[in-house]
């Protein structure tokens, strides 16, 4: 009889129930979309933030010490270098998949037109196959996405070409395809200017060349000054901050959690394990900005989810209350016939929950669609569907429907059969 009454009520009140279901669809779809985006947004936002360049720099431990103590960087600080053949080991660490791009840097000084000028040797592009079989495509070009380049980027094997910073080019009236002569260690070499770049920073007065060219000019074969690394990281929390101070202060459990989470400090720690004499340090400004933006984006998604849940709850509340008031005579009669308050409340809640469930299922799939639209529009890729969202949405749906039913429940429990049956 219970289910019979519910089914008949749902059929009889189909328009109202469709309105309730539609409201649930809206709320659940928004919640589903926001939560899927929220859970998948970490990587997406991180990837978007990679336009700000490297978030980790690896230097020789002595060079890093000079940098920490005196703020001195670049060639001439000391003569300690990293080994070029260690660079590819970055991809072998536990969080190797989170290392998106990297490039070795060799800084040096040459004579150009009789003026002491800074050069940067690097991998403009690097395409290789790792021992694991993974294809690797990286290089400075991937780390300097904001550069404005007049002409072309250097290719992987452009050992006879250079790129010149736009300030240096302006000062020396250098154009693309010009030939320039650089001298170092008593030997000169003529390079073709393949591109003029605008970095917006110190590099605009420097000359960029391939790593082999720079190593040859500096007589530093197989050596690099630093490695710039762009890694996907998890925003720091108290554990990460504690580990950053001293990983030895962690308990074994804490260490395991920290090591197996992509905190920037954990990734730096793992990099140091594979780079001989290397000290990896986060570029704090970039790393913290990423964490802040990610946290704020997540907060925004959570707020939208909460607001959509509240909005749905209020709308459902109005619809259910209106429905119950309309049926007050019928529900009052059930009380007069001997139904307890809880039996009437159960009847109405069951109707609403069934309607909500139907709306929730539809809303979930609509929400997945919304999430993909957001993923494509904002991040240019699909959002991975998180299964845990189903559980969270189910809980949200239950409470939204329950809270939305509270005014109706209060009305029902206060309803006196005499008032509706005698028309008083």
């Amino acid at each position: 009889m219970f289910w019979h009454m519910i089914i008949k009520t749902l059929i009889r009140q189909k328009n109202k129930m469709l309105m309730i279901a539609f409201t649930v669809v809206l709320g659940v779809s928004l919640s589903t979309a926001m939560m899927n985006v929220m859970l998948g947004v970490g990587d997406k936002v991180n990837r978007e933030l990679k336009v700000y360049g490297a978030n980790i720099t690896v230097r020789h431990k002595d060079a890093a010490l000079m940098s920490d103590l005196y703020g001195l960087e670049g060639q001439g600080v000391n003569d300690k270098f990293l080994h070029e053949d260690d660079v590819l080991k970055l991809k072998s660490i536990f969080w190797g998949f989170n290392i998106l791009d990297f490039a070795p840097i060799l800084e040096g000084r040459v004579s150009f037109n009789g003026v002491d000028t800074a050069i940067i040797g690097t991998w403009p592009e690097k395409n290789t196959t790792l021992p694991t079989g993974e294809e690797l495509h990286t290089g400075l070009k991937a780390l300097r996405t904001w550069w404005e380049v007049n002409g072309q980027w250097l290719g992987e094997d452009d050992d006879d070409s250079v790129m010149v910073g736009h300030i240096l080019a302006d000062q020396n009236k250098i154009s693309v395809n010009d030939k320039i002569t650089l001298t170092a260690n008593g030997q000169s070499k003529i390079f073709t200017v393949k591109g003029i770049f605008n970095d917006g920073g110190n590099s605009d007065s420097k000359i960029l060349m391939t790593l082999p060219s720079a190593q040859a000019m500096m007589n530093l074969s197989g050596r690099v000054s630093a490695i710039e690394v762009s890694a996907l990281t998890t925003p720091d929390n108290d554990l990460a901050r504690k580990a950053a101070q001293d990983p030895r202060s962690l308990s074994p459990d804490e260490y395991e959690t920290w090591y197996c989470t992509a905190y920037v400090s954990a990734i730096c720690h793992q990099i140091q394990e594979v780079i001989r004499d290397g000290v990896a340090k986060p570029v704090r400004q970039v790393a913290e900005s990423e964490g802040t933006i990610l946290n704020k984006t997540t907060l925004l998604m959570v707020l939208i989810t909460i607001l959509s849940a509240i909005g749905s709850s209020l709308a459902i509340s109005n619809l259910i209350t209106a429905s119950v008031i309309e049926r007050s005579q019928e529900l009052g009669l059930l009380k007069a016939l001997g139904a307890y308050n809880w039996q009437i409340v159960l009847l109405v809640l069951a109707e609403v929950m069934i309607t909500g469930l139907a709306g929730g299922v539809v809303g979930y799939f609509v929400g997945i669609g919304f999430a993909q639209v957001i993923g494509q529009t904002v991040f240019g890729s699909y959002i991975e569907i998180a299964r845990m969202v189903i559980l969270i949405v189910a809980v949200i749906l239950f409470f939204v429907t329950l809270f939305g039913s509270i005014p109706a429940i209060r009305y029902l429990t206060a309803l006196k059969p005499t008032e509706v049956l005698h028309g008083k």
Binding site: M1, L333, L337, K416, P417, L421
Partner: protein, 236 residues
Amino acid sequence: MSKKILELKNISKIYGNLKALADINLSVNAGDWLSIMGPSGSGKTTMINIIGCMDTPSTGSVILDGVDISRENAASLTRIRRDKIGLIFQQFHLISYLTAVENVMVAQYYHSMPDEDEAMEALAKVGLSDRAHHLPAQLSGGEQQRVCIARALINSPQILLGDEPTGNLDEENEGIVVDIFRRLHDEGVTIIIVTHDPEVGDVAQRKIILEHGRVVGDIDQSATFGEALKLRGSHV
């Protein structure tokens, strides 16, 4: 001597400054057929609400089947009403989306267990076997009221309580319903009805006249409402 099924002792019901019932005393024996008449505002509905466990008196006691129910809470009153009272309404109050037999079964559901065979028997008692699977909208007013009576009888209540049970019926259907009451009375069912219709009221073996919340007349079958009212110089 019949068992006393209902006793109202010094019942008053006060709403703010209004005294809807004032010091009512009334005893009803099992198997009695009682009709209550009175002008609008005389307290008939308030009295029937109290007897039907849908309201409680401000003062006084209601003894139903030997138990004082006047201070029971709402849940207890619901249980007592479900077990001991069968309600018949002027507007029938059938659930529009349930068939006649389903409307009867609803009362069974909230009492114990729905049993379609028993519900069909109850409908047969009021002559509606062939209309059992019709919706209320497909039934005449008289038929709807007979469904309402079947629903009130389905749980074998100790008192059948009717609030203007013929108020919405034409003469023919009024006769049918009164005949059903007469038959139920012969079977020993206790019937209390509130009515404006002297002809319906006169069929009862005992008549109560209410005015301004007080019992002003308690007459037996030998006199009619008309005669009693003429003596008092009042009308309903």
